[in-house]
Amino acid sequence: MKLWAFLRSFASAFFHRSRAEGEMDEELRSHIQCRADDLQRSEMSRAEAERLAKVEFGGYQKFKEECREERGGFWIETVWTDIRFALRMLRKSPGFAAVAILTLALGIGANTAIFSVVNAVLLQPLPYPNAKRLAMIWSTWGNETRGPASGPELIELRNRTRAFEEIGGIWVTSGTITGTVEPEQVRLALTTANFLPLLAEKPQLGRFFAPGEDRRGAAPLMILTDGLWRRQFGANPGIVGQTARLNGNNFTIVGVLPRDFKLLFPDSRMADVQVFIPFLNDLEKQNRDTGYIRMVGRLRRGVTVAQAQSEAESIASQLRGEAKEYAEQSLRLSVLSLQEDDVRSVQPALVSLFAAVVLVLLVTCANLANLLLSRSGSRRHETALRAAMGAERRRIIRQLLTENIFLGCLGGIAALGIGWVALKWILSLQPEGIYLLIAAKLDGWVLAFTLVLSILTGVLFGLAPALSVARGDLLEILKESGKATATGKSWLRQLLIVSEVSLGCILLVGTGLMIRTFTSLLRVDPGFHPENVLTFQLSFTGSRYGTVESLTNFLKELRTNLSAMPGTRSVSGVSHLPLDEGLGNWYSYYWPEGAPVQQQNTVMADHRSTLPGYFRTIGATLLAGREFEDTDDAVHTHVAIVDDTVSEQIWPGQNAIGKKLSIEDSPAGAFQFVRESVVVIGVVKHIQAHSLTSRGRGQIYLPVPLAPRPVYSLVVRTTAPMQTFAAYVQQAVKKLDKDLPVSNLRPQMEYVEKARAQTRFVTVLAGTLAALALFLACIGIYGVTSYSVAQRNREIAIRIVIGANPADVGRMVLRQSGLPVVVGVVAGLAMAAVLTPLLSGLLFGVRPSDPLTYAAISVVLAAVGVLACYIPAHRATKVDPMTALRTE
């Protein structure tokens, strides 16, 4: 609608202008006629009178132009004239136009695509009401930062805060929906009643939880996401009020969330929560030191994150003074804006990519400037002619600049197409962890960005050539009679080559470092051997697995059944697979038994609950002692296996086997934590549990009967193909429990690949951009060298005629054209050395000053650059003196 109105007003202004133009012509002509009438009275023929009147009037076109300028609103017309002229010029040289537009489309298109990602992830507010006021509140326990809060902590904070309007909490676990067509394991979130209203205006059906509905004893209610509602409930519009079975209990469905609702939290496992239920618990009565709740708050209007932070600090210090649990573990609270926290892990990567793409654009500009300079010879003649006919220099520069900006805009239009394709491709790379990426699209912001960029590009690449064309002595230029000349401008061209090569060099070095990082990631020893290990997940909820015994029996039986599968070498299970970020982590303090109080509550370790044979199955290295056996149950022995990190931390240089460790376990059932003493029976090599690049906490493994958990991942080392395995597993599980859904059937390798995904994403994109820059730089070098050879055809011919060896001539051209390439490489390496430390956060296993990368890049770039020179240089040796001299 707006666009239409704009077009209409533009068109009417246009018609109005052409009428005004006609009137102006009529007025000036009328003046000349009147004058002629007067002159005729003095005995002059009409023809003679009119001629004289015209002469007296002066430069008709010049005054008309001045009138136009005085009339105002004149620029639209000038621009229009200039654009029409530019179109004519481009149509006259379609080859140039095609190369220029294609180059621009690549350069700007890459920017469009990357910007749409940066815009969606970093610039646009999260899709929540008052998104700017949402903040995460993290607990710090001892040395563990960014931890979850305990129930009492949330309630205390909520009661005391003045900075926050609301503070909600969420805990994500796993649950089972039954009673529908097919039982399904779903990601389940337990929330406070006020949590969902923080993140959505209203549900698409029904309502949110009401205050108090999250208390112990309240009726069990449930809110579904749009996806689950469609999949499991056939998008039934009358769903509200019906009951669904979750974990064996009936829940009344009270609402369905909006279609586009998504939990965009720093914690990737939250992204696909499908069912929300209230805590149904009195949070204030829970353990003060069992942290599991993620807190999100909405700041009061006008309160800054920094103010909220200082309030949180003072509340934490009050809490430390009031309860010994908080004091012992030196609780602290930190407030971070939700958006900032969300993009924390991807920001460096995206900013680096954006910087890279800007470099590509600069290379594009340098390339085009060069292209235009090559054409400037013929353009100088034309503009000199126009200057001779009375055009002002300012006017000519404006015209040339308009022409270049117009060219930039044409490139920008083509860039939208390329950007669209590139964005599709980027999205298809599906980088893990950049989940805000789904929102990336070519929206108004991106269009505006592309437009502005096109215009800026036009100015940037067009200014130097425009100035150079419009300068110069008229007479000299006209005397040259249209011959292409490059007098005095070759230094500018050389400079452009130097900058092109050096910019490309920076990009290549950055990319080289990313490739080195990726190869380091491939070489990382994660502490286990993921090849041939297939996995799946089971969620044990509901009354059937209410006792520890029922759970252990089920797992034991399943393990026996799976062992019978052909191709199986070993079967085991664990509460939390390495590199699987889909589950809540379990970690707590540990210390050697009998440690003094000040040594307690200092270090935490991840706690894993495993079946016998786990380390053998995933290919971990047992350094000492033995694995768990079926006989290691809670009744007879309290045993644990620790990794070398734990044993080094508390018994450095000693044999850990047989030593006693104080840990938290729950032999009475999941979540019923008690502090107990266990005997270490084995030491295993550290397993990279959360990332390939950082070592992370130590790990303590407990047998299932000591630490039953609601979710287990079964691991099977087998030669069976995935499909056979999947079918067998489904059947084996169904035979034991037809209501138990199998989920996350996948090779362990997939988790490893996910852990490399972000680096892969950055590496692939950086590689593409660097290749693009290299390609553009090559075109530039090739173009300039070819041009200079063509320019010097005559000189080369003369050299050859007076006896120069063609091979020497080729070497001379190569030397002269190669010099800027070499200078560019050196300058580029120097700039890269200054800039690459900024990439440190993205690098792993390689230093920003990695000599191998620098050496490889300079060799590649120099070789490619010299090759680009070589082809035209070779052509120079083939110059036929007779033809060359005759044509000149």
Binding site: E27, S30, H31, C34, G58, G59, K62, F63, C67
Partner: protein
């Protein structure tokens, strides 16, 4: 051409305003009127008149409308607006002050110092 003076920069607008203040005129008429009221002493380049007229219209000092000239030609007539009248008064005052000042400066005799 003896007896004719080139216009000082900026004086053309003033002359046009004065010429039009004596009654609406078309472009050529403005030219003739300036010649007439300056007794042929001021020379205006014919074409240069029009950019100045367009400028004065854009500034809202003149208004233009189409009509018929004495010798029956269609022509655009210019008339002074209220703003134009005010501007003419200011510019004329300013000009007179300047002329008086310059004249008295040039007429200064050694004994007056």
């Amino acid at each position: 051409m003896a007896g004719q003076a080139q216009l000082l920069p900026g004086t053309l607008d003033l002359l046009i305003l004065k010429a039009v203040s004596l009654g609406p005129l078309h472009g050529y008429g403005v030219l003739l009127r300036i010649e007439q009221i300056s007794r042929g002493a001021l020379l205006v380049e014919q074409g240069a008149l029009y950019p100045a007229l367009y400028r004065l219209v854009r500034q809202g000092l003149l208004k233009a409308s189409w009509g018929t000239s004495d010798n029956n030609r269609r022509a655009k007539f210019y008339a002074l607006t209220a703003a134009g009248r005010k501007r003419l008064r200011q510019e004329a005052d300013g000009w007179n002050r300047l002329v008086t000042a310059i004249a008295s400066a040039l007429g200064a005799q050694p004994e007056e110092i």
